[in-house]
């Protein structure tokens, strides 16, 4: 299975606390006790993840419905890159 075919989701969204700070966003992840300082587009990507596993392509469509996406040709690959990074941090999950 390639990364583009993986289904991404997250556990209870209540386990993270999001707070804007000086143009960036702080994410406090309760289970790990870690704080992540993130920049766009990470909060936007996190916001479209839900407990329902969905492929990156669908998540991209949801993002495209809310935002004007720039860099479209590479958008899916970039999105998958971010999703994998979020998984590595424990903020998202994939299967």
């Amino acid at each position: 299975m390639t990364q583009a075919e993986r289904l991404y989701y997250r556990d209870d969204p209540g386990e993270v606390l999001l707070r804007p700070l000086e143009g960036l966003t702080l994410i406090y992840h309760r289970p790990s006790g870690m704080t992540h300082i993130v920049d766009s587009p990470v909060p936007e990507i996190l916001a479209v993840l839900s407990p329902e596993p969905r492929p990156a392509r669908l998540l991209l469509e949801i993002l495209a419905a809310g935002y004007d996406l720039e860099g479209e040709g590479e958008a899916l690959d970039t999105l998958v890159g971010y999703l994998e990074e979020l998984c590595a941090l424990g903020l998202a999950r994939a299967r």
């Binding site: 909060p43 809310g66 720039e70 590479e74 590595a88």
Partner: protein
Amino acid sequence: MKILRWNVIEYFSGGAFVTGRIVPGAGVDERKDQDQGAGRDGDGEARSAQAAGNARRKLLLGGGLAAASAVVSIRPALANTAASVLNCQIPVPDPAKGMGQMIAPDGKLVPKGTKGAFPPSNRPFTGEEVKAALRSGRSLPGTSYDQNRAYLNYIRRLQNGTSGFTCYASLQMPR
């Protein structure tokens, strides 16, 4: 909010480990608008709806900055000063990876019904509880002697990417 702010200050003053790179301003338009959305806890759908209702904002996905990481992570460095370490949680097992499984005496996840294995804990343990169990031999709350040993073996086997790993790793750090 108050607690969060305190934690962050504590991390910075406590010799935090900071990883990752950040690219301030990468792909950001109308930052103020975005902040309002980001302030909501995990309310993705409401946020998407809000985004659709307002003037459309730009989101940079791809382009020259695509490969740059937009995340800086701060993990608690000092177990004795970071309140979050004591309050952080270690589920036994990780609900995403151990769904429907049991914990063998050696800490491995085994299929439900395996002889000698223990059922999952009905609540996650806190860093404080695990620390006490590892250091002073006190049992994890609500566990029998053998169950406690199995659970601690599971916790010792935690790997990066598994829920509870960072909490456990933080407990291992020297003062």
